[in-house]
Symmetry: C2
Subunit: 319 residues, 2 copies
C-alpha cells in the first residue's frame, strides 16, 4: 500500500491542503479561504472535513502516515500557532491537538521556513545534506536551519529568526517593533523600501520613477533590472550585499555546507545570487572560505509549501 | 569498577592532563610544556607516556572510557587540530589518530569552547538543558552551541565561531585578517583596546592613565572598575553592550534557554553581566523576551579545561 502524508500550508489568505507521496507527487489537492470562518474551531473542523474528502477521493489504496502543517509562527515543539500577525485569530492556537481529535495519525506543525527546510531535505536539493540553511525571501525573510540532519528548533521551538537579526544598528523600522532587522532590507518589501529611498536620495534616471511609491513592488523592480535600469540594478546589488554580510556571520555560527534561497526574490537569479555570493566571499572567515554553497531551492515551486508541510511527516524523528 | 575519562587541555604554553570521574573529581593530574618538543610526534608520544604514568599511579581500580582533548582549532568531526595560530606545529595535526595508536579506547577532540559547553552539560549548570550556549571570554571570544542536547558541530566541525561574527562593519582589525569581529571588542584584549581608545579620545580622569598602554590589561581594568574608576566602568558598560547586542541576534537564530559566560572577563560579575543583560533585553525580539537566562558558568574553575575535555567522553554519542 502506498504511503502518503497530508501537507497543509496555512497562509493569511488561503489554506492549501495536499496529499503527497514519498516521491513528492501531489496526488490530490484542495484549498479553503483562511479568514472565511468565524471561529478557529469552525476553521479546524472545515480542514478536517476537507482532509476526509481528499482521502475518500484517492480511495483506499493509500496509507496516511500523518498531517504536516506549515503555518506563520507555527511552533514545532508545542504543535501550536502562536501570535501570528497575519491570522485573524490571536493568541495561541493548539492546532495539532485540535486536529488530532479528528484523526488517529500524528499532526506536526512548524513555521513556513522550517517546512521549506525539511521540504528541501526530503524532496529538494538537500537530500544528502545534514547541515544547511533555507532562507525564504517573501514579504519577509524566514529561515530554517538543519544541523546534523535535524531541524534546529531551539528551547521554545522558535529558532531560525534570521530575518530579525540586526543588519543595521538603528536602521529601518521593522514590524516587530525594533529597528534595522535584516528583513527590512532583504525581502520583497525590503528591496521596495530600498528603491523608494534611492529614488528620493539621488537623481538617477529610472523606469521606476514612472510609478507612484505605493505602486513600486519587487516584481516591477525585477522587470526594471532585466531592462538594465541602473537604479533597479543597484537595489539588487545592495540587497545582495546586506544578505551576504549576514550570511557570512551565520556560517560562522552554524557552519552549513549550503544555503538555499527560496521564494519570490530568489527567482531573480543572478541579480540576487551574484552580489550575495560576492559579499559572502568577501566577509567569510578563512576556515569557512569556499566551504558553503549558495544555491537555489530545488523544490517544485507550484506545490512548494504543501510539499514542505507534508515532508515533516517523513522526517518526524528529526524534529 | 569506577569509570573514568582522561581529559587533555592543550594550550599554547602548557598541556594539562587529568583523570576525571563521572562526578567531576579530578583523581590525578599532570602537565607538560606544549612547545618543549621538537616534533609533533615526540609531543604526542610524551602525552601517551604521561597518560600511562597517571593510569599506573591510580592503580587498577578504574576503567578508562576514553580520552577527550580540548585544543585550539580542535575539530570535532575530524579528530584533528587544524592551523592553530598559537601552536608551533602548523597545518593539520591528526591528534586523535596518532594517540589512538597507543591505547585501545576512543580519543575525541574538539576546540576549547566546545569542550567548555560539553563540560557545562556534564559537570556544570547545564545538566538539565538541551539548548544553550557557552561563551568563553579569554584572550579571544570562543563559543560552543548545544542544540537539542547535541553539540552543534556543523558540516566541517567548525561551528560556533561567534567571536568572528561582525560586530562593527569596518571596525577594529582582527587577528583573522578581517575587521570588526566581536572578539576585538569583547574579550580580555578587546576591553583593553577599548580602554586605550578611550584614554586617547577623552580626558576623563582615570587610574589607568598611570600605566603605559602596553601595561594596561583586563585585570587592571577590573581592579580600576572595583575602585569606581569612571573610565574603567564605561569600558565594561561598552563591552557588555557589544556582547548583549550580538547575543540577542544569536538567540534569534538558535533560541537557547541559557547563555553561560565563562573565563577571565566573566569573573568580573555584575560589571559585565549587567550591561550585557540590559543590551540583550533591549534588543531581544518579542517572542524571545525573558526566555533566555544569562548565567555564570557552573564549572569548577581550577580544573575547568580538563573537566571540559574529559566530558567529551561521557557525551560521545552527542557529538
Amino acid at each position: 500500500m502506498k504511503e502518503v502524508a497530508i501537507g497543509i500550508d496555512i497562509g493569511g489568505t488561503n489554506t492549501v491542503l495536499g496529499v503527497v507521496d514519498k516521491k513528492g507527487n501531489c496526488i490530490a489537492k484542495d484549498s479553503i479561504v483562511t479568514c472565511g470562518y468565524g471561529s478557529v474551531d469552525k476553521y479546524i473542523e472545515t480542514i478536517a472535513e476537507k482532509i476526509k474528502e481528499l482521502l475518500s477521493a484517492i480511495g483506499t489504496q493509500c496509507k496516511v502516515k500523518g498531517i504536516g502543517i506549515g503555518a506563520p509562527n507555527g511552533n514545532c515543539k508545542r504543535g501550536t500557532i502562536e501570535y501570528a500577525p497575519n491570522l485573524k485569530w490571536k493568541g495561541i492556537i493548539p492546532i495539532s491537538e485540535s486536529l488530532c481529535k479528528y484523526f488517529d495519525f500524528p499532526v506536526l506543525v512548524t513555521n513556513d521556513a522550517n517546512a521549506a527546510a525539511i521540504g528541501e531535505m526530503v524532496y529538494g536539493s538537500a537530500k544528502k545534506m545534514k547541515d544547511f540553511i533555507v532562507v525564504t525571501l517573501g514579504t519577509g525573510l524566514g529561515s530554517g536551519f538543519v544541523s546534523g540532519g535535524k531541524l534546529l528548533c531551539g528551547h521554545n521551538g522558535f529558532a531560525g529568526e534570521l530575518g530579525h537579526t540586526i543588519a543595521v544598528i538603528d536602521g529601518r523600522s521593522c514590524g516587530c517593533g525594533r529597528k534595522g532587522c535584516l528583513e527590512t532590507y532583504v525581502s520583497a518589501t525590503g528591496i521596495t523600501r530600498t528603491v523608494i529611498e534611492m529614488l528620493g536620495k539621488n537623481k538617477t534616471k529610472s523606469i521606476l520613477r514612472n510609478y507612484s511609491n505605493s505602486n513600486i513592488n519587487s516584481k516591477r523592480i525585477y522587470e526594471a533590472a532585466l531592462q538594465k535600469d541602473k537604479l533597479a540594478l543597484e537595489a539588487f546589488e545592495f540587497t545582495g550585499k546586506m544578505l551576504g554580510l549576514k550570511l557570512s556571520d551565520t556560517v560562522a555560527i552554524t557552519n552549513p555546507e549550503a544555503i538555499f534561497l527560496f521564494g519570490g526574490l530568489a527567482k531573480a537569479g543572478d541579480l540576487i545570487f551574484k552580489p550575495t555570493k560576492e559579499a559572502m566571499d568577501n566577509n567569510m572567515l578563512n576556515i569557512f572560505k569556499n566551504s558553503c554553497a549558495l544555491l537555489p531551492s530545488g523544490i517544485d515551486e507550484n506545490n512548494a509549501a504543501v510539499l514542505g508541510a507534508a515532508s515533516l511527516i517523513w522526517k518526524a524523528n528529526d524534529m
